[in-house]
């Protein structure tokens, strides 16, 4: 047994999923399976690298990605 600090861990899928579900709800309630893969990846990236550690800011991040997608 040892003290073993961990680094660069990927966020679990359920955290991303819940964040996206909340964002989807806020954006008008489209089904989670309809969210494009690239959006998932972008949010995943944000969660992984952006220091996002809870769903609350992730909701905002997911919404921001959606808005960017729509504007594009």
């Amino acid at each position: 047994m040892k003290i073993d600090p961990k680094h660069n861990l990927k966020k679990p899928k359920y955290l991303i999923g819940v964040a996206l579900a909340a964002a989807a709800l806020a954006a008008g309630g489209f089904a989670i399976h309809e969210i494009k893969e690239e959006v998932m990846e972008q949010v995943d990236e944000l969660l992984h690298t952006g220091g996002i550690v809870s769903a609350e800011p992730a909701f905002e991040a997911a919404e921001a990605v959606e808005t960017t997608e729509e504007n594009a």
């Binding site: 600090p5 680094h7 861990l9 809870s54 769903a55 609350e56």
Partner: protein
């Protein structure tokens, strides 16, 4: 404010992993009165957790404290919440009825099928059958009860069957903690046994979830829900800030592992809180230095001064066994969370209470 009252230093059990010395020292009625006054003296809520020793050895003091608190709550309009951590052996009809009426939260220390390996009377007698009866009594009364289970190196091979027993007795939730402190020695071999048991528990939780059963087992369930909600478990117990422990003689300490350590004395219910010392403590960072840049730091109990002092003698140093344990349960919890989420987001959101 929240206080944990050490009603007595005495106990009718001699659990193999318990680190508290047993003495025939009980809290006086006057100290109880002063403690209730202190609980209502600041903050928007008043809370008392009855602790020991075995607090039900002093049922008279519990009923007295509840009577005083009820009266103060009515006078001041301040909501009051009571809790108890008990070995359960002295629970009776009168107590169960009172606990239900008072909405008391009961922490029922029960090790399931490991009970007789570690939790025997001071005469060495078995307690398992008695505890099953007491558990049924609490369930019949509909008391707000959580089963609190300690896994020791010697008995942890029976942890999974203990979880199933607790579920089958009707408990809605349970908390598992590994035995810590100088009475136990974890080795790589015994820890692997524990890991194997937790693997089975995670599978069992998934099986129950698929059936729509809402039984919850901490730490697996709460490692998932806390991550989603952004709750940092290391912030639960800022020492001496969110709560204080009151020793049998009325002295105040940051938490239960610090009782009788003069360097952690924070005043008394008679003389009041030493605010200067309390403030000094609030400014201290208890995150152990190896944990500061760990990705799991905000999901781990590394800053629990109580566990740290039990394991290492220092509130801001983590033990290898605790680090190993936290990494194991977080990893398992995330596997379980992903499996649950894959069954549908709305169901998962409901189960996690979001």
């Amino acid at each position: 404010m929240n206080l944990t009252l050490y009603l007595t230093e005495n106990c009718n059990l001699r659990c193999s992993y318990c680190t508290r010395e047993k003495h025939a020292q009980d809290m006086s009625r006057e100290t109880v009165e002063k403690a209730v006054e202190l609980a209502f003296s600041r903050g928007k809520n008043a809370g008392i957790c009855f602790f020991g020793g075995e607090p039900l050895l002093k049922k008279d003091l519990i009923y007295y404290a509840l009577e005083l608190a009820d009266e103060r709550s009515r006078q001041t309009g301040i909501p009051f919440l009571s809790k108890i951590t008990t070995n359960g052996t002295l629970i009776d009809e009168e107590f169960a009825s009172m606990a239900k009426r008072a909405n008391m939260q009961i922490g029922f220390s029960f090790d399931g099928t490991m009970q007789d390996d570690c939790r025997r009377t001071k005469e060495g007698g078995a307690t398992f059958d008695l505890m099953v009866d007491k558990a049924r009594l609490l369930m019949e009364h509909g008391c707000d009860t959580v089963a609190m289970c300690v896994a020791s190196p010697e008995a942890c091979g029976k942890l999974f069957e203990s979880v199933k027993l607790v579920h089958d007795l009707g408990f809605p939730q349970m908390i598992i903690n590994p035995a810590y402190g100088d009475k136990v020695t974890w080795t790589d071999e015994t820890f692997e046994v524990l890991r194997g048991q937790f693997d089975q528990i995670a599978d069992y939780m998934m099986e129950l979830y698929q059936k729509g059963d809402k039984f919850k087992v901490a730490p697996l369930h709460n490692k998932i829900s806390e991550l989603i909600k952004g709750i940092n478990p290391s912030k639960y117990c800022h020492l001496g800030i969110r709560q204080l422990a009151v020793s049998w003689d009325g002295n105040l300490y940051p938490c239960t592992s610090f009782l009788d350590k003069p360097e952690w004395y924070l005043g008394s219910v008679y003389e009041g809180i030493d605010e200067t010392r309390r403030l000094e403590m609030a400014k201290r960072c208890f995150t152990p230095s190896p944990c500061k840049d760990c990705d799991l730091s905000a999901r781990c109990t590394n800053s629990c001064g109580c566990a740290n002092i039990l394991n290492t003698g220092s509130p801001d140093m983590i033990a290898p066994v605790q680090c190993e344990y936290e990494r194991m349960v977080i990893s398992l919890a995330d596997r379980l969370g992903d499996e649950m989420y894959a069954m549908g987001d709305q169901r998962f959101i409901d189960f996690m209470g979001l």
